[in-house]
Subunit: 198 residues, 2 copies
């Protein structure tokens, strides 16, 4: 049996719940924090709880936001006639990082997966439809090039066809089978530029 203090053990266990953090990394983090001034640890802890308490979904695009309407949806500098549809808030981060997009977003919060029983009703699809009006120029489907991404993109494209809005998909510059979140900025920029009609 390995000895650690219950308080250190509790911190290691809590840190291990973070994505990609195994027990050894969590242990390193805990020991690192024990060397910091208490104020530093307090600041980290309160940054996390403050974030969780303040941040909600934007009522328009469902990205994370501190306000009812997120700064992108509220910005007069963004092109509100173009909506880029993504799976997760992390994909908004990725596309913003590419610096190649000036429209707005719509976060589905998942992808359809018939085998696992995830249907369009579980995603923010009807919320997307509700946003559309005669003013809309284009819907860009920027979903991961996986099977679930394909299914969801085809479903939304078919749904939007009768409405008569131009629906495009980002080009397969992105490696098939990868997660959009991890694609490099240049590739994302290129895939946006060479998007094709769905």
């Amino acid at each position: 049996m390995i000895y650690t203090s219950p308080a250190i053990e509790a911190a290691i266990e809590a840190l291990s719940s973070l994505p990609t953090i195994g027990r050894k990394s969590a242990q390193r983090m805990a020991l690192h924090l024990l060397r910091q001034p208490p104020e530093h640890v307090e600041k980290l802890a309160s940054a996390l709880t403050t974030m969780r308490a303040k941040v909600q979904y934007c009522a328009t695009c469902f990205n994370f936001s501190e306000e009812d309407i997120c700064p992108i949806c509220a910005s007069p500098k963004r092109n509100h006639r173009v909506i880029c549809v993504v799976e997760e808030p992390s994909d908004v981060f990725a596309i913003e990082r590419s610096g190649d997009y000036s429209g707005v977003y719509h976060v589905l919060h998942g992808l359809m997966n018939p085998l696992e029983g995830v249907s369009a009703g579980d995603l923010k699809v009807k919320e997307l439809i509700r946003r559309l009006d005669g003013e809309m120029d284009e819907i860009i489907l920027a979903l991961s090039p996986t099977i679930d991404g394909e299914v969801t993109a085809q479903y939304i494209a078919r749904l939007l066809k009768p409405i008569g809005i131009r629906v495009t998909r980002i080009a397969r510059g992105v490696p098939v089978g990868s997660e959009l979140e991890f694609v490099d900025d240049a590739t994302i920029a290129r895939a946006l530029q060479s998007r094709v009609t769905a």
Copy 2:
């Protein structure tokens, strides 16, 4: 300019201060925490602040401890006639993990480095000498096989020689130039077994 909410940005920045966590990993962690129930985030935050508030140094061995005397130093099951001298609390974790050691520890909190002006006075060396009495069987120097580790081990070995206690060093089963903390358990166990007189 990439948009993130100030609260998310503050959390990402705080998480980036953790060892081995870059901006992208910190971002992944923040977005992960935003998907958790607020209670989960509160629990993580309070585990960190509680740990920092409760944990101090053991008055005997200077390992991290919630009590004045740590459970290892307080345990009648450990052999108090053998002290294993290590650089950092993380090395105690590593040696305990190997399951091959039943003595007690002494944490130096650093290694001597003449070039950077770190001398024996900056480490818990005199606290080690103070612990020694006629009852002592052996001091095991389990310091990283780096130049600083060598310098420190030789200094302590020379210091202890007149006292007449057996001083050993863990064998060079551990790859030269590596950090002890990252060595695998089996190698640490073997290095302890084949320790040699200093």
